[in-house]
Point group: C2
Chain length 211, copies 2
């Protein structure tokens, strides 16, 4: 498998965590967002969305990080990233999608660049970023506080798709100096997740294109 990747992409970070958790080898193909390599013709031929990440499995390219992670979970079921019970699966997916739909897409590089083109300076862009983290984390804090058994994982006492999404979002929230004091449960869970080798090895700064 080839992962079209960029060290700083939060969505790619999710996929790296999932690949590591499943113990799967992959080829790391860097597409530097700042150099617009994800908008070059060769990459658009593979992924017409022009976004990172994409996973090539033989001749098939899967786009969208959550579609990739669900695929990996279906084909390589150990360790499972979703519980067995349908209502529990739904709760985990709700948490993952609260990040993947309602925080991250508002704050990725292309949107920040667009907000800048609307006349916002650095302070304005940072305020935009922090606003959507704060909006999204406010609800998620309550959901995770309700469902986490011991503030080690988002749901119950085992790893899930929600954790795969939380760790990269928390990493980015710190990078943008978001105020995390209203979100003690999310901070506690993230702090535990960072101790896990699969998460540690997926960090942006240890990827080959970060150097």
């Amino acid at each position: 498998m080839k992962l079209y990747n960029y060290f700083r992409s939060s969505a790619a970070f999710r996929v790296r965590i999932a690949l590591n958790l499943k113990g799967l080898e992959y080829e790391y193909v860097s597409k530097a967002l700042l150099k617009n390599e994800h908008r070059a013709a060769d990459y658009l031929a593979l992924n017409p969305e022009g976004l990172i990440p994409a996973l090539a499995v033989d001749d098939t390219v899967i786009t969208q990080s959550l579609a990739i992670v669900e695929y990996l979970d279906e084909v390589h079921p150990q360790p499972p990233l979703l519980p067995a019970d349908p209502l529990a699966r739904a709760q985990v997916r709700s948490m993952a999608l609260a990040i993947a739909c309602d925080i991250h897409p508002l704050n990725n590089l292309r949107v920040l660049n667009h907000v800048r083109r609307l006349g916002q300076n650095d302070d304005g862009v940072n305020a935009w970023y922090r606003h959507w983290v704060s909006e999204g984390f406010r609800g998620l804090e309550q959901q995770v506080a309700k469902h986490s058994s011991a503030r080690r994982y988002c749901f119950g006492d085992s790893l899930s798709l929600a954790d795969v999404c939380l760790a990269p979002q928390m990493y980015n929230a710190r990078r943008f100096d978001c105020d995390l004091t209203p979100f003690p449960t999310l901070v506690a869970v993230s702090t535990h997740l960072e101790t896990l080798p699969a998460f540690d090895a997926a960090r942006p700064e240890v990827q080959p294109d970060a150097r």
Copy 2:
């Protein structure tokens, strides 16, 4: 089941289509976004995200439209909204997420209101809306053109989660006068979907709170 709903919510529209496809009865509970009913204490107690839709199944509330639709598909598998093959499932989820992550969240009411607060007038807000539809539909057009058998459905020749997401997004694109000429496959598929009773009955203007 109770669906916390708003006639104009594109995400709620997806869930209404899925409930109709599965032939499931539900109680329609309207939360008027324009009156901020989704931010009232009684609703936040059920859904701390403060977003529409949410589905209450007995005492459990499921948030996030795609988590709800995947739940409905797991518990009520006929007709299936995902193919059986894992790579095919991944392609369908990619299309659905291309809409649910990379178009819709940038264009929902709270974001448009925020863009207005940054100093954009009606023209600026409409330009923002059309920009993200155009960006997202450009990639999706190619994906659907590649995978649709007869331009009746997004993937192959049967209904899927991708169709459940496309129809509401196309409805909204028309409402905001987006230029659809570059997306003939998406228009053809949507035109077919509109003929299906489950989609027709889920349209915003025929919901009880639209009157």
